[in-house]
């Protein structure tokens, strides 16, 4: 199936990426080419096959580890916030959400 311009804008809104009208037309053409490629999957017979989310599941005979729910990380707030675009008093700053 192929997408419409409106669908591209809807997906872009879900993905939180701003796309201008001109860019949307180019993106539409390229996405439709890629969707044409992945649409080939529809024809394959997969009745009775369990989805494989991960190489560790089944084929590798292992499963993802779970650990005890306890604090293992030290407080490194300063180091982590040093790379943030905007912080104040140990908090991340974002544009005002509530008027």
């Amino acid at each position: 199936m192929s997408l419409s311009l409106e669908q591209v804008q809807r997906v872009a809104a879900l993905a939180r990426i701003a796309i201008g009208p001109e860019e949307a037309r180019e993106v539409l053409a390229q996405l439709n080419r890629v969707l044409g490629l992945i649409d080939q999957l529809q024809a394959a017979d997969t009745r009775g096959i369990e989805p494989m989310a991960h190489p560790l599941d089944a084929e590798l005979g292992a499963s993802q580890r779970l650990r005890e729910d306890r604090v293992t990380e030290p407080d490194r707030r300063e180091a982590y916030q040093a790379v943030a675009p905007a912080v104040r008093k140990g908090l991340y700053l974002v544009p005002k959400v509530i008027e």
Binding site: V27, Q40, T46, L56, E59
Partner: protein, 494 residues
């Protein structure tokens, strides 16, 4: 020194023929001379490298040196490095300096290796040509009008041009093996879970795996020793006993001098020796297959009937995981933030519009679409079911053979710009590498000759889970009998 193996460099350092500071200086000189032309490095870490080298020389004088102590290594700019920027080839992270080191970086530090720089790559490792980097395209040392492959193209080009003896990369759909093939170097993608993903910027977490690129398989074995190992900080790191990946570089078990590869069974998938592969590539690969036969290996034709689904399956699963992983880039905790915006939602949208390049946006949009309401079953679940069938094809094959062998890529290095306007054409250059990571299997690519234009051809070997040492052993035998891996690119003579 510039064309020496890691073993020879280690021996020269041990014999005090050269110090690590001198060796590092040699490679830094060469990087300075060639990087403008090839753009293989995003960051050349001159000060850090010389400091590491002094520490390595001091460690050696204490008698505490290991095989990699004092040897310069470059890292794909996807591995987080404390004190240096980690960009992932993106404007989004152009100014990002990680507060911690990746496990892979820790491994090389513990081994006493010298961190010489961070290599260029496709943005967020999404690409097969290393052209989508925010920092400009990487060029192939064999022909600078051509791409080095990707996404670990900076690492492959740096090793090929002898700017560094070894480098790290990551492979999600072929991003170590395909650039290794197109640039004429050796590269290994280990079994999923062998190398920790801690501190490795995530693209598609069920596929991403770090691995080494170097001139030879023997060097890859030495590098993997520093990279592999259980790490509690990566929930998919496998808890298993440590291995020495150099252990099969000697004589293979059960072999004799007349037939050093006797008993080895090599499967040749008929799907990988099909039309669509450049004739010179097929010819070089067939010559390599005949060499393995001459050493006592037996070959048989096998079938991977679901391999034809690999590319569509990958281009559902990888973008789906990418759309989730890259949601973290929101302009709040790190990375780029747009200057102009109306409100919080607008800040997200503009930050991501400005920070991501075209291919990354494309994949996020595809991933968002295939995971969206009404399409999840048709695309994502269907792709996961086919993923299991692809893995089962290999499981069936490994009942009859030890390795699967074929071309790494359907063609040799293509000209810059040749595939940038059509994403599907670009995706098809990973047609032979993409199945192994879907199944989680290890694979390697080694040079096996040149096409008529003098561009390198890669031979791919895929083995069963945890067969890295055996794969490296077989590749090493081939490299003892051939010198393709020692050839120096014509555009970057020593």
């Amino acid at each position: 020194m510039l064309n020496a193996s890691l073993f020879d460099l280690g021996a020269a350092l041990a014999a005090r023929k050269i110090s690590s500071v001198e060796l590092t200086g040699l490679f830094l000189d060469r990087i300075r001379r060639l990087n403008q032309k090839l753009n293989a490095f995003i960051t050349v870490a001159e000060e850090r490298a010389l400091a590491d080298a002094r520490v390595a020389d001091e460690r050696r004088s204490r008698g505490a040196a290991g095989p990699l102590t004092g040897i310069p290594v470059a890292h794909k700019d996807i591995f987080c490095t404390k004190g240096l920027r980690t960009t992932c080839g993106s404007r989004m992270l152009a100014g990002y300096e990680s507060p911690y080191d990746a496990r892979v970086i820790e491994g090389f530090s513990a081994a006493g290796a010298v961190l010489i720089g961070k290599t260029n790559m496709d943005e967020f490792a999404m690409g097969s040509s290393s052209e989508s980097s925010h920092f400009g395209p990487v060029r192939n040392p064999w022909d600078a009008t051509r791409v080095p492959g990707g996404s670990s193209g900076g690492s492959a080009a740096a090793v090929a041009a002898r700017m560094v003896p070894a480098a790290t990369g990551t492979d999600t759909g072929g991003s170590i093996r395909q650039p290794a093939a197109l640039s004429g170097v050796s590269g290994l993608k280990p079994t999923y879970g062998v190398v920790s993903r801690y501190g490795m910027v995530a693209f598609a977490s069920s596929l991403d795996q770090g691995g080494p690129l170097a001139k030879s398989a023997a060097d890859l074995a030495l590098l993997l020793n520093a990279m592999a190992g259980y790490d509690a900080r990566d929930s998919t790191s496998l808890e298993r006993p440590a291995e020495d990946y150099t252990r099969a570089l000697g004589v293979l078990p059960g072999a004799d001098a007349a037939k050093p590869l006797g008993g080895l069974r090599i499967g040749l998938p008929k799907e990988y020796f099909a039309e669509g592969v450049e004739p010179d590539v097929l010819a070089r690969v067939r010559e390599a297959v005949r060499w393995f036969e001459s050493q006592g290996a037996s070959t048989l034709e096998i079938e991977l009937p679901n391999a034809r689904h690999s590319i569509p399956v990958y281009y559902v699963i990888a973008p789906a995981e990418a759309s989730s992983n890259l949601a973290r880039f929101d302009g709040v905790r790190y990375g780029h933030r747009a200057q102009q915006f109306a409100d919080l939602a607008d800040m997200y949208r503009r930050t991501r519009a400005e920070g991501f390049g075209a291919e990354v946006k494309r994949r996020i949009l595809i991933g968002t679409y295939v995971l969206s309401h009404g399409y999840y079953d048709a695309y994502y679940l269907q792709a996961q079911k086919l993923r299991r069938l692809i893995a089962r094809d290999f499981a069936e094959a490994f009942k009859r053979c030890d390795f699967v062998m074929g071309p790494t890529a359907p063609g040799t290095a293509f000209p810059l710009g040749a595939k940038t306007s059509d994403p599907v054409q670009m995706y098809l250059s990973d047609i032979f590498t993409i199945a192994a990571p879907l199944a989680g299997l290890p694979g390697l690519s080694i040079p096996c000759g040149f096409d008529a234009a003098g561009l390198p051809v890669g031979l791919q070997l895929v083995g069963n889970y945890f067969s890295e040492a055996k794969l490296l052993g077989a590749a090493h035998r081939y490299q003892q009998a051939t010198d393709w891996h020692l050839r120096v690119p014509r555009e970057t003579p020593l």
